[in-house]
């Protein structure tokens, strides 16, 4: 694992609109993240299951806060609350999206 890897890991599926929604929220707030792509078949997604208890994507893990969550609406709300300007509780660097 890279030593300088971003704190947020996004589990995503290629071409999944719900995942793209989360990507847009992260990019809008200049939050660095790394992407882990999983397979379309739910049964192939044990890495996500271990992380959030279900096999749905998107899912994120944020090392800054220790938060792990699924469901795009929840994640977008979390990103905005945590990294969205005035009310942000965590400082991020200016690295932008990885």
């Amino acid at each position: 694992m890279p030593a300088d890897s971003p704190p947020i890991t996004l589990y995503r599926l290629q071409a999944c609109p719900y995942c793209e929604r989360v990507v847009r929220a992260l990019q809008d707030h200049d939050v660095p993240y790394r992407s882990r792509f999983v397979e379309p078949m739910h049964s192939e997604r044990d890495a996500v299951k271990r992380l959030v208890g279900a096999r749905t994507v998107p899912a994120i893990h944020d090392e800054n806060t220790g938060v792990t969550m699924a469901e795009s609406a929840n994640i977008v709300e979390y990103v905005e609350k945590t990294y969205g300007g005035d009310g942000a509780v965590v400082e991020t660097d200016d690295g932008g999206a990885a």
């Binding site: 589990y11 992407s35 792509f37 397979e39 044990d46 890495a47």
Partner: protein
């Protein structure tokens, strides 16, 4: 006498022993997911055996990975492969071969060109892939051992490869 043809691939000015192996970033695939990773991410953790193989599904890829899996070289250093196959195909190969090694995906074949080992495939218009090749790298990406196929098909001398791995790691 055999009556089939082994194709001569000819000389190539490839990355050689003593060189620093070019770094690159590509999706790195395991049996669960893939994410972008650099060769230097792997060498930062110690010596690496980097194996270029024909595309997943071709019999040489199957043979090479069966043999390297059975030799359990992963106990000594990081074994990683690279072919032009997609991450989806790599994930299936890792699962089907039941191996602990990860595979880089490089459909552009740009990494092979960087290493001087590109192989334009006869009869598959527009597709090139790496020549079969294996590089043993130390933690600075210095090439300790290099093997590049000069014929097609050709396989590494596995005993020699394992001897070189044991010398470095």
């Amino acid at each position: 006498m055999v009556d089939f043809d082994v194709v001569e691939l000819g000389d190539t000015d490839h990355v050689a022993e003593g060189d620093t192996a070019p770094d690159f970033t590509r999706p790195l695939v395991n049996d669960e997911y893939w994410e972008d990773a650099s060769l230097s991410d792997l060498t930062d953790e110690g010596p690496v055996l980097l194996v270029f193989s024909p595309m997943d599904g071709a019999f040489p890829a199957t043979y090479v990975w069966n043999e390297l899996r059975d030799r359990e070289l992963g106990d000594r250093l990081t074994v990683v492969g690279l072919s032009i196959s997609t991450p989806y195909a790599h994930k299936r190969l890792v699962e089907e071969r039941g191996m602990d090694y990860r595979l880089f995906s490089d459909p552009s074949n740009a990494v092979a060109r960087e290493y001087g080992i590109e192989h334009d495939l006869d009869g598959m218009a527009g597709i090139e892939e790496p020549r079969p090749a294996a590089f043993v790298l130390d933690a600075d990406r210095t090439v300790e051992y290099a093997w590049v196929a000069t014929e097609w098909p050709e396989f590494p001398d596995y005993d020699e490869l394992e001897r070189q791995v044991r010398r470095v790691a």
